[in-house]
């Protein structure tokens, strides 16, 4: 037996082609369908049994009988019954970006048409999806006079953006002054003795004015948390964790980011400490605290 060819094997390229294309007659039924298609109409043909074939054939595939000469307009909308997702289109495909093939039951038809659907993603075309043809600008009487189908409009995207200018309240200004100086300023209610942070001017429980400021340490315990997988300009990485942190000495947790630890390792009862930005970079802003990071102390029973 000859050995397998190596890099010195003789090879040659060979192309099988009908230059200019192969000419085919359509016959009366397919010809009618393609002519109507050129006019922008989708037509089906009735069988002797009363079914509507789309695309039309000369003979009923179920019985072998010639179809009738009764034509009915179908579609243009239809319902997807099955689909497949092409990740990398080939040269001869109807679209040059990822798309779906689908079996489409046009409204009024008893059979399904195979065509391409311009869908966003593999999951965008479950059975039952309604689609409509997108027509080619210049039609010639060819199945590709329909460039492709597209899902019916079921949603729109509304960009929304409103701009505001906020002025910090006296209590928030006082709290942020503390944050600028590396201290969490809380307050104590003279009536119920609860310690709140951030600093506020009245007790939300008993409604009394608050007068006593309480400086709180930058350590605390996570009481609950959420893992966020969507990017947020305020978070340094994705996924990130936002948590309720009960600062030592406070009765009410404060919401803050948790970092310096993989998101899935964050837990309730974990001891954390604020990670401050360098002193010279601090402003009247919560961005002075990069996040809260684990202290390494044993967890606390909540």
């Amino acid at each position: 037996m000859p050995s397998e060819p190596g890099s010195d094997a003789l090879t040659a390229d060979h192309v099988l082609e009908f230059p200019g294309g192969y000419t085919r007659t359509t016959g009366p039924v397919i010809g009618r369908f393609l002519t109507e298609l050129r006019d922008g109409r989708l037509m089906g043909v009735r069988t002797a049994e009363g079914r509507t074939l789309v695309p039309p054939l000369e003979y009923d595939p179920a019985t072998g009988e010639p179809v009738t000469d009764e034509w009915v307009e179908v579609g243009p909308a239809g319902t997807v019954t099955a689909s497949a997702w092409v990740r990398e289109p080939l040269d001869g495909h109807p679209l040059d970006r990822p798309f779906a093939w689908a079996l489409i039951r046009l409204d009024g038809a008893d059979t399904s048409l195979v065509h391409a659907v311009d869908a966003d993603n593999p999951k965008a075309l479950p059975p039952g999806t309604r689609v409509r043809p997108v027509w080619r600008a210049t039609r010639t009487g060819h199945i590709s006079d329909i460039s492709y189908f597209a899902p019916e409009v079921t949603k729109i995207v509304s960009p929304i953006r409103s701009a505001y200018r906020l002025t910090a309240s006296p209590s928030l200004t006082r709290f942020l002054e503390g944050v600028r100086d590396g201290v969490f300023i809380g307050c104590r209610c003279g009536v119920c003795d609860k310690v709140y942070v951030p600093y506020r001017l009245s007790c939300p429980e008993c409604g009394n004015p608050i007068t006593e400021e309480v400086p709180l340490p930058d350590t605390g315990t996570i009481t609950t948390f959420a893992i966020n997988n969507l990017p947020d300009p305020r978070a340094p990485e994705v996924p990130f964790v936002s948590a309720y942190i009960l600062l030592d000495g406070a009765d009410i947790p404060m919401i803050a980011l948790v970092g310096g630890i993989p998101a899935h390792e964050v837990r309730q009862g974990m001891r954390v400490r604020a990670a401050w930005v360098p002193e010279q970079e601090r402003t009247l802003s919560m961005s002075n605290i990069k996040w809260f990071a684990p202290t390494g102390e044993p967890d606390v029973e909540l």
Binding site: H14, Y22, R24, A82, R87, H93, P94, W101, V114, I143
Partner: protein, 339 residues
């Protein structure tokens, strides 16, 4: 009906690339092997299956005759189909009663071109071919219509590749699902590009027993076809495979082994249901088409593998299935029994 049996079967060690063998050179060893197995040097009838589009050359099967030695002239025929249909033609020819032996072979080198788009050329030229609907796309559309469970598909693909590892003729493919291609199909759901050939000898009447102590008697053989256009059929099932299976008598007894021409994982699910094969039937112990797919010989190999189990004494009743056309349009079912 005249008793006709498979008495010899041979196939190449299939390759995933073009080794440079010409078609006569590819089939020569398998023709020689079945001549040796059967002890026959001449046959009452010869029939082959191949497809000119694989090599892109007209009448390529004619030059393949050089591997046979067709002089003095022989009685020969060819189908532009999987060679399983050549076997069907040979079986019909043997029913005439005037000849007792037939040589059947099939071959294909799908590594030469782009099988995926060559298969587009089999589609109807008005509604499907102009869309560029390729082989993996219409197969994926059928998988989508079936809505097959990914776990079930993975099990079929993994089992096929695992069995292929212990078949010296099959490709030895990694037990890895690979990337999604046309979804829902992943790489291992798709029969691999393969070059190869296979040959079978059929013998009728007393000759069968003289050649082999345990011939694989064909007790039923039938093929059925359904409409071509994909939207005219229920792609989730195969009515033609079910009809062919009933006509061939699959359900008349227990089936030990079934070799199914499932070129995609989901096709095995459809065929198994159509042929009503119970879980006790071993499917594609050779690895099947998912482990080696020499197009135009793949279906004949299913019959050969199913026959070999009987000739080896490993099974008493087997089914060989072959398919052609897009999405299992055309199905041929052969039921074989010992004695």
């Amino acid at each position: 009906m005249r008793d006709v049996a498979v008495v010899a079967f041979a196939q190449t060690r299939h390759t995933a690339h073009d080794t440079g063998l010409s078609e006569p050179e590819l089939i020569l060893p398998v023709i020689r092997a079945v001549r040796e197995q059967s002890g026959l040097s001449a046959f009452g009838f010869t029939c082959s299956g191949s497809c000119d589009y694989l090599a892109g050359a007209p009448f390529s099967f004619v030059s393949a005759l050089d591997a046979l030695g067709a002089w003095p002239p022989i009685s020969e025929s060819h189908v532009e189909m999987d060679a399983a249909w050549a076997l069907y033609e040979a079986w019909v020819r043997l029913q005439h009663g005037d000849v007792d032996s037939a040589l059947v072979y099939g071959f294909g080198k799908s590594s030469l071109g782009d099988l995926r788009t060559i298969m587009t050329l089999q589609l109807d030229p008005y509604y499907l071919e102009p869309l560029g609907l390729d082989q993996l796309s219409f197969a994926a559309l059928q998988a989508g219509a079936l809505g097959a469970d990914r776990k079930a598909l993975d099990e079929i693909a993994r089992r096929s590749r695992t069995d292929g590892l212990s078949n010296p003729n099959a490709l030895h493919l990694p037990l890895d699902e690979g990337e999604p291609v046309v979804e829902p199909l992943k790489e291992w759901d798709i029969a691999p590009i393969t070059d190869g050939a296979a040959a079978v000898v059929l013998a009728a009447g007393d000759l069968a027993r003289r050649i082999h102590a345990r011939p694989a008697y064909i007790r039923g053989i039938a093929h059925r076809i359904e409409p071509h256009y994909l939207g005219m059929r229920d792609l989730a099932r195969s009515a033609s495979a079910a009809d062919a299976g009933r006509a061939a008598g699959v359900g008349k007894g227990a089936v030990d082994v079934a070799e199914l021409h499932a070129s995609f994982s989901h096709e095995e699910i459809i065929l198994r249901e159509a042929l009503e094969l119970p879980s006790s039937t071993v499917i594609n112990p050779s690895g099947g088409p998912l482990a080696a797919n020499p197009v135009m010989a793949t279906g004949l190999i299913r019959i050969g593998e199913a026959a070999q189990r009987i000739m080896d004494g490993a099974a008493g009743r087997t089914v060989g299935h072959a398919a052609g056309g897009p999405c299992l349009q055309h199905n041929l079912v052969t039921v074989m029994e010992a004695g």
